[in-house]
């Protein structure tokens, strides 16, 4: 289906503004996506119409808020094709989801001498929680190397796998390079040695179809704000039998069945992992973001984003002195680049003067930058509301960077 991009752009009020007197070109979608009016309206409607604490109140507002909150869980369940709503835990984001798994499954089931495998492509949020666990428990972190294109080397991964491997935690799509990892193969091979697998889906969830049952993945983490939803809200999918075996993460209200000073029994799934008053408004609004995506169609979004990526790659590669970093065969619409003799920060500052928002720096992937031997990159990442004209503006902007800085 051919998408009407102009119509889609009108759904995002923030895009209709100028920065430094130039039309805003927002190419920092890998950091966070903008929000459509339906999501902004949902937040407003919640606070104006039915703000109440959920699950306990018996009054009208509490019931309405609870229903809306739980409706999001059902939508997330179908978005990920999970088996049951008990497998959908609301968190504060991908980072929180990973910390939850490391802090509960990890602390209970991973012991001294056991091995955890991650990859060179990981965001700090999928490195540090495991390092903290290893420091506490004496387990060992192993790293899957990548090739110069920015792809995981599967043969090396296989060499790392052994009966000592207890857990594999790998990113679905690299936020810095856009590489799509072969996660089905990674999951199957981990399962073959009895290890559990978490997939960091922060970057993938807005671009790719995710079917946790087909993948047979044990845990999948994502953030709402990268899916046109609010910030401070995320999801942890976990297989029911694993979530049941895991101890709670935080203690408090909502996650209990009965409390006495002698002993507390915990609530059933998913509430066992949702202590305290949750981020109700943002959870409620997230449903509208997912419905918005479903209405446009994920396949349509992916097809259009791929066109943008192909166009941008061709245009950027034709600029003398520009090198695209990350040339994986399977990529989402993220393009990282460096300019010969020009620091990424200088690129970012001059593009910003022209109203073009890109991300520059190490993208919270310092070990990856060390592997690639660069201090950082400039990264343009595209979403469904971006246009070919905006890519032309980026190209003109980069030529201006070269003119000013060479």
């Amino acid at each position: 289906m051919k998408l009407d991009i102009n119509k889609i752009r009108h759904d995002f009020p923030i895009l209709e503004q100028s920065i430094n007197g130039k039309k805003l070109v927002y190419f920092d979608n890998a950091a966070t996506t903008q929000k459509p009016s339906v999501v902004i309206e949902a937040l407003k409607n919640y606070y104006e119409g039915y703000n109440a604490n959920i699950h306990r109140g018996i009054h009208h507002l509490a019931e309405k808020a609870t229903a809306a909150f739980e409706a999001t869980r059902k939508t997330v369940k179908s978005f990920l094709n999970a088996n049951s709503i008990e497998e959908i835990i609301f968190t504060y984001g991908t980072t929180d989801s990973i910390n939850l798994v490391a802090g509960t499954y990890g602390r209970k089931f991973i012991n001294a001498g056991d091995e955890i495998i991650i990859s060179t492509l990981e965001h700090h949020s999928n490195i540090v929680p495991w390092q903290m666990l290893c420091e506490e428990k004496g387990c060992i972190l192993k790293i899957i190397p990548i090739n110069d294109e920015g792809e995981i080397i599967l043969e090396e991964y296989e060499k790392l796998l052994s009966p000592k491997t207890k857990f594999v935690s790998v990113v679905h799509v690299s936020n810095a390079l856009g590489t799509i990892n072969p996660i089905k193969t990674i999951i199957d091979k981990a399962h073959a040695v009895g290890a559990k697998v978490l997939i960091d889906g922060a970057q993938a969830s807005s671009h790719l179809d995710i079917d946790v049952q087909a993948l047979d993945v044990d845990f999948y983490a994502l953030s709402a704000h990268k899916l046109f939803g609010p910030t401070g809200m995320g999801v942890l999918y976990g297989k029911k039998e694993l979530l049941e075996a895991m101890p709670p993460y935080r203690g408090g209200g909502e996650m209990i069945k009965e409390v006495t000073f002698e002993k507390t029994t915990y609530a059933d799934l998913p509430y066992k992992f949702e202590a305290g008053t949750p981020n109700i408004a943002d959870v409620v609004a997230f449903k509208f973001a997912l419905d918005y995506i479903q209405n446009i169609g994920k396949t349509n979004i992916a097809a259009y984003e791929n066109e943008l990526l192909a166009y941008a790659t061709e245009k950027l590669e034709s600029i003398e002195g520009l090198t695209v970093i990350g040339k994986a065969k399977e990529k989402v619409s993220v393009i990282s680049f460096v300019l010969e003799g020009i620091h990424p920060q200088d690129i970012g500052i001059i593009l910003d003067q022209q109203g073009i928002a890109v991300r520059t720096g190490h993208h919270c992937t310092q070990p990856l930058m060390q592997r690639l031997g660069i201090p950082g990159t400039a990264r343009a990442s595209f979403s469904v509301y971006n246009t070919f004209e905006e890519i032309d503006a980026l190209v003109a902007g980069i030529l201006k960077v070269k003119k000013l800085l060479s």
Partner: protein
């Protein structure tokens, strides 16, 4: 010249570039190119200003009652901004540096570079310069 006279001089130079961002940045880039590179022996980990997206070094010494600053950066625009800060704050007494109110940055429209975000760590550089001044001031007493 006093710190304020030096600031006023920079403000006057930038008045030429009102509504001309290219001219303004060309000027800053030029300042970056003109700043003599910091000697390698001073490019130590201790001299790195934390919180900048590019590596920024600041070295200080105390001579005849004046604080002498030298600096450098990997990024040329940042280096230009560093050059401006050095022009304004270097070669003054610790007390003058501690009392300095750096109004020129706002006046020339570069406040965003002083913002307290992780990518724009010039605020950290100013803070570090004042910390040096404080340390040298206590030496004097």
């Amino acid at each position: 010249m006093t710190i304020n006279e030096l600031q006023d001089e920079i403000i006057e130079e930038f008045e030429l570039f009102e509504d001309d961002w290219e001219g303004k940045y060309e000027y800053i880039i030029d300042l970056g190119k003109k700043l003599a590179p910091l000697a390698e022996e001073f490019k130590t980990d201790e001299n790195i200003i934390k919180g900048c997206q590019s590596v920024v070094w600041l070295n200080a010494r105390f001579e005849n009652g004046l604080v002498i600053f030298e600096g450098d950066s990997q990024a040329i625009i940042v280096k230009g901004l560093v050059n401006m800060l050095l022009k304004v704050l270097s070669n003054h007494s610790p007390t003058e540096i501690l009392n300095a109110d750096l109004y020129f940055i706002e006046k020339i429209g570069l406040t965003s570079h002083l913002a307290q975000t992780r990518s724009n760590g010039l605020a950290s550089m100013v803070k570090q310069m004042k910390t040096y001044a404080l340390a040298y001031q206590s030496l004097e007493k």
